[in-house]
């Protein structure tokens, strides 16, 4: 993996983030009913609204605000949250790791379940197992997250079964088992939909590989079926599978928004929904940028993993 490739990719990520920051800033700038009204709420009078918006700098020309904001972002001073009167960095800092835990849990679960399922479906193409997996894959992608979350809530966390806590969060340092126990349902919801999506992709990648010339050549060399699958087919199907999973990180980050809202998981997703409803501009801008940065970096990481798996990319 030569350094030039790495540098080029990093530059691309920075460029992407710059575009996102500009887009997010412009979008938040034209929010109707500005933040001051939201903060002071029903009891504010006109003069108070003006005073607060001056204080928040909402009246300066937008490009001045953008440069000021961008400068601040780079210098690590992400400003103060308008409603929570806490520095944005702390607000996002805490929330980010909680969402990261959910995302990691979901990605791990998906990799453990979706890849073997996809491979099995491809190897048993046309049999009952393949059709069953296909149906599950279609159903999984046809049901929105909040419906799956609600169903899990009723059946697995309801007073009758009481298997899992109905949402809520316990910090890992306080009690790790409690932390993991509360993660089960949110991760299950996210994994259900992601697995459905990825099984189909892995299945088609694997069936491509199984139909390839080099797998045929391996079989015609008299290698056992196990050797053909493990040494020849699987390694070649893994690289594209990783690429597909990294693309779905965006899908996952979207799903987190809903899952955190339903299961009261105080992560970045819920922070964004709160910020959008309360027009908390600095938090909206910073949180969206963080999510976009995570997604861009996850693509970079997956590129590296792919390079490790596929020599053709490594020695490009």
């Amino acid at each position: 993996m030569n350094a030039a490739y790495f540098v080029r990719r990093l530059v691309a990520v920075l460029l992407v983030l710059l575009t996102v920051s500009l887009a997010v800033f412009v979008i938040t700038m034209i929010l109707p009913g500005n933040a001051a009204v939201m903060i002071l709420g029903e009891y504010a009078t006109e003069d108070q609204l003006r005073a607060l918006s001056e204080e928040l700098g909402l009246d300066r020309p937008w490009h001045v605000q953008y440069l000021g904001w961008l400068g601040g972002m780079l210098a690590g001073d992400w400003g103060m949250s308008m409603r929570l009167s806490l520095p944005v960095t702390t607000v996002i800092g805490e929330a980010f790791w909680r969402s990261a835990a959910l995302a990691a849990g979901a990605l791990a679960t998906v990799s453990i379940i979706a890849i073997p399922l996809g491979v099995a479906a491809a190897m048993r193409r046309g049999t009952g197992l393949d059709l069953g997996i296909g149906l599950f894959a279609y159903l999984g992608t046809a049901v929105p997250e909040f419906v799956t979350a609600t169903l899990l809530l009723i059946f697995l966390a309801g007073p009758s079964s009481g298997l899992f806590p109905a949402g809520g969060y316990i910090p890992a340092d306080k009690s790790l088992p409690g932390f993991l126990y509360h993660m089960v349902l949110p991760v299950a919801t996210l994994s259900l939909i992601l697995t459905a999506h990825i099984v189909r992709q892995v299945r088609s990648e694997m069936s491509d590989v199984l139909g390839s010339d080099y797998v045929r050549a391996a079989r015609l060399k008299g290698l056992s079926e196990r050797e053909v699958i493990l040494r020849h087919a699987l390694p070649n199907a893994l690289a594209p599978a990783v690429a597909v999973i990294s693309l779905d990180v965006g899908y996952l980050l979207g799903g987190i928004l809903v899952v955190e809202e339903v299961f009261a998981w105080p992560g970045l997703g819920r922070l964004i929904i709160y910020a959008l409803q309360n027009r908390d501009l600095p938090v909206i801008q910073a949180a969206t940028l963080t999510l976009a940065a995570t997604y861009a970096l996850s693509n970079l990481v997956s590129d590296i993993v792919i390079a490790v798996l596929d020599p053709r990319v490594r020695y490009a």
Binding site: A12, L15, V16, L17, L18, T19, V20, L22, A23, V24, I27, T28, I30, L31, P32, R125, Y138, L139, T141, A142, V143, P144, E145, F146, V147, T150, I154, S204, S207, D208, G250, Y251, L253, G254, G255, L257, V258, E261, I272, I273, L276, R279, I284, T288, L291, A292, Y295, A296
Partner: protein, 272 residues
Amino acid sequence: MRDLLRHPTGVVGASLLLVIFLAVVAGPSLAPYDPQSFHPQARLQGPSATFWLGTDQFGRDVLSRILHGARATVLFGLGATLAGVSVGALIGITAGVAGRWIDSLIMRLLDGMLAVPDLLFTLLIVTVIGSSTGNAMLAVAVAFSPGMARIARSAVLSVRTRDFVQAAIARGESRAYIIGAEVLPNTIGPVIVEASIRVSFAIMLGATLGFLGLGAQPPSTEWGLMIAEARQFMFRNPWCVAAPGLAIAIAALGFNLFGDALRDILDPRGRR
């Protein structure tokens, strides 16, 4: 068209879509009750002879609301995807055809917009232009256009290098003719396939917006909103959540299966 019927997922997909299409077109006239009228005495009842799918918290007939809501929900999905596809395809084709710096500029912009997850991107836009069905549709369309642009662009690039386009260039055909008669007709296939699969995403995105209270607003009969409103009463009458949920699943499944079948038929290599 007939090989669509020989294709298993195609048949299932097409039949589901037929049901949905029937609901969209004939829904309001088929509905046994007025979707808004209250039946206070029959609140939150399960399916019965009089109310085939039960009633919601105001005693309104769930079946009638689903039939009326088909139009709002499915046309929302179709409209958003159509708008997103046409805008996206336009951008993608210009990037593919123009090439050089225009292409890389557009691609950089698209990468930027694609870095933000679809749902978040839609939420941002809806918060800007206010939450209503129309605005939500516009937001989903804008959120879809980068993905579509990328697919349209790759379709154009793959066709551009084909010999029959090179032959046209060699003949000295005008740029407009080359794009119009040679490139475009051969890029429509992949764009249509992708569009039909994206309709299911659009429907689900719309439902999620309704759930977060940022999409369709009361008294709309959009299915996502119906689920959001009925969630408080789900323990007393699970049907008022299950029925619209099922409807969304059928619509999303229908478009998904149909899209996949279309892709297999159009892509001669046949992924099956």
